[in-house]
């Protein structure tokens, strides 16, 4: 139908035929960066929530051997401490299971001296005075360490935030690349169809009429490329999630995304298409301003 058809033969432009694939790549890169960023943010939140309200008391192997009945001395003291909700000594097998992903089954099979751990649940507001608790425990069993995980968690959070910033930078760069690509393709189209554009202009077409021709193309091709890029992102995230699961839950953050995060990923092609349309519109209008 003529009224739905573009007055300019934009379909024939070589650069425009590449556009869906360029958009697909842009969407794919942005999608992967966002998926990585969101998984990491979720993992950090899970770690933070999981470790909040827990303290680990560590009794080094030497200290455990030297002071006979260390657990019997430490557990009652812990349970009596204000702010402590519960204290449970981990068996040797449980400790070994925690270390297995890092050391391997064979190393643990040998007579490896392992620290003994006590899992302590504490109130968070107000919590126990950990410094005083550490001093009291060391007095009973010298060498005992109280670890509230804060130091390692803070380092992990700092690292995660840095990765998030890198991901955001990638998304911004990808958006800029989308703008540059669209501006370049549109300028090429304007050069190729200069005569046709001038004809429409001389027939009294408003600038917006000509811009809409290019915009309509950008919308169609952008959505096509966006669908391809999103499909590739979903497949990659699913594959990585599956592989991470196979490696082991303890070593890698889970890659499974929630509904909101999937919605964010679904918005990526729409965002890229919107960028394509706006860039096209602005580029065409700026070029048309040069016509009398």
């Amino acid at each position: 139908m003529f009224f739905g058809r573009c007055d300019l033969a934009l379909d024939a432009d070589p650069a425009r035929r590449l556009l869906p694939w360029l958009v697909a790549m842009i969407v794919y890169l942005a999608g992967l960066s966002l998926a990585g960023m969101m998984s990491l943010a979720s993992a950090v939140e899970r770690w933070d929530t999981g470790l909040k309200g827990t303290v680990t008391v560590q009794v080094p192997p030497g200290a455990f051997r030297a002071s006979g009945g260390a657990m019997e001395k430490l557990l009652p003291l812990l349970r009596k401490t204000q702010g402590v909700v519960a204290a449970r000594a981990l068996s040797k097998a449980e400790t070994a299971a925690l270390l297995e992903p890092w050391l391997g089954e064979e190393a643990l099979g040998a007579d490896l001296p392992l620290p003994r751990l006590i899992d302590v649940k504490v109130r968070t507001d107000p919590g126990p005075d950990l410094k005083a608790l550490a001093t009291a425990l060391s007095a009973v069993v010298p060498g005992t360490i109280v670890d509230d995980h804060r130091k390692s968690l803070d380092r992990l959070i700092t690292f995660a935030r840095s990765v998030e910033l890198v991901a955001i930078a990638i998304v911004i760069l990808v958006a800029l690349a989308a703008v540059a690509t669209m501006a370049f393709i549109t300028r090429t189209g304007l050069a190729i169809h200069r005569d046709g554009i001038e004809l429409l202009h001389l027939m009294g077409a408003f600038d917006g009429y000509v811009a809409r021709q290019f915009q309509g193309q950008a919308l169609g091709l952008g959505l096509k490329g966006g669908a391809i890029g999103t499909a590739l992102t979903v497949v990659t995230v699913a594959a990585l999630s599956h592989m991470a699961g196979a490696v082991g839950a303890g070593l890698l953050p889970r890659l499974d995304l929630g509904l909101t995060q999937w919605l964010v990923l679904a918005a990526v092609p729409l965002g890229v298409t919107a960028i394509a349309m706006i860039t096209t519109h602005v580029t065409v209008l700026r070029a048309l301003k040069r016509l009398p």
Binding site: F2, R5, L8, A9, G196, L200, M203, G204, D207, P292
Partner: protein
């Protein structure tokens, strides 16, 4: 309707191709614009259909000073002017009827209405059997007739034609001139640039003559509508 006051024009930084042009075309007039090749006929038409800006002077179209008119206003003025370009300027990926209907589409008119008008006009210029053809398959003369149909479909108030009979034989040229006269009778102001002396001699219309970038001739005289030969 069209008034030029001390208008000059140049391309880029080159010398002026038109110098101090002064003339007026009144509503309903019919003029030929004559002059040798390179005399500036096409340049003068470009100034009228707003494809180029003057280097100096004042151009008034439909009582509007186009040198200061806002962009949107200029687009609306262009819609009141029909142009037959020397090089036809047809869009090859559109069919013949779509090319002719294009001005209506730009104005946002209903497709059925403009398609009906376009088909009628194409039949009138002898192309009724190739409305769905691609312009690529047409001869030079056929393309010219499509271009003419496109220029007149919106009943323009001013019709400008740049060598409209350059690619057609004498019979068709006379027929086309009659079409222009018919439009002129309906109130369209017509200005035809041509160097075809024979054709101009066959119709009794005033001439504007361009030579060396300067214009001479009777201005603003109403059309006689008579073929003298």
């Amino acid at each position: 309707m069209v008034r030029f006051q001390n208008v000059g024009m140049r391309y880029g930084l080159g010398s002026e191709v038109l110098q101090d042009i002064n003339f007026e075309l009144r509503l309903g007039s019919f003029h030929f614009l004559s002059g040798a090749s390179g005399a500036g006929k096409s340049s003068l038409l470009k100034l009228i259909y707003l494809a180029h800006r003057p280097s100096h002077g004042l151009i008034t179209l439909f009582d509007c000073d186009v040198t200061i008119a806002p962009r949107r206003e200029l687009a609306l003025i262009r819609r009141r002017i029909g142009v037959v370009f020397q090089d036809f300027r047809l869009l090859d990926h559109l069919s013949v009827i779509e090319n002719v209907a294009l001005p209506g589409k730009i104005k946002g008119e209903n497709w059925d209405t403009i398609a009906g008008h376009a088909a009628e006009l194409l039949a009138w210029v002898g192309l009724g059997d190739c409305i769905d053809a691609s312009p690529l398959t047409l001869s030079g003369g056929q393309k010219q007739r499509v271009a003419i149909a496109r220029a007149v479909i919106s009943r323009p108030e001013i019709l400008l034609a740049d060598e409209p009979t350059g690619n057609v034989d004498d019979d068709i040229a006379v027929r086309l001139l009659h079409l222009f006269e018919e439009l002129n009778r309906l109130g369209t102001t017509v200005l035809i640039a041509t160097h075809n002396e024979n054709l101009m001699n066959r119709f009794d219309h005033p001439r504007l003559h361009l030579a060396g970038g300067e214009l001479s001739g009777p201005f603003g005289r109403p059309s006689q509508h008579t073929e003298t030969a």
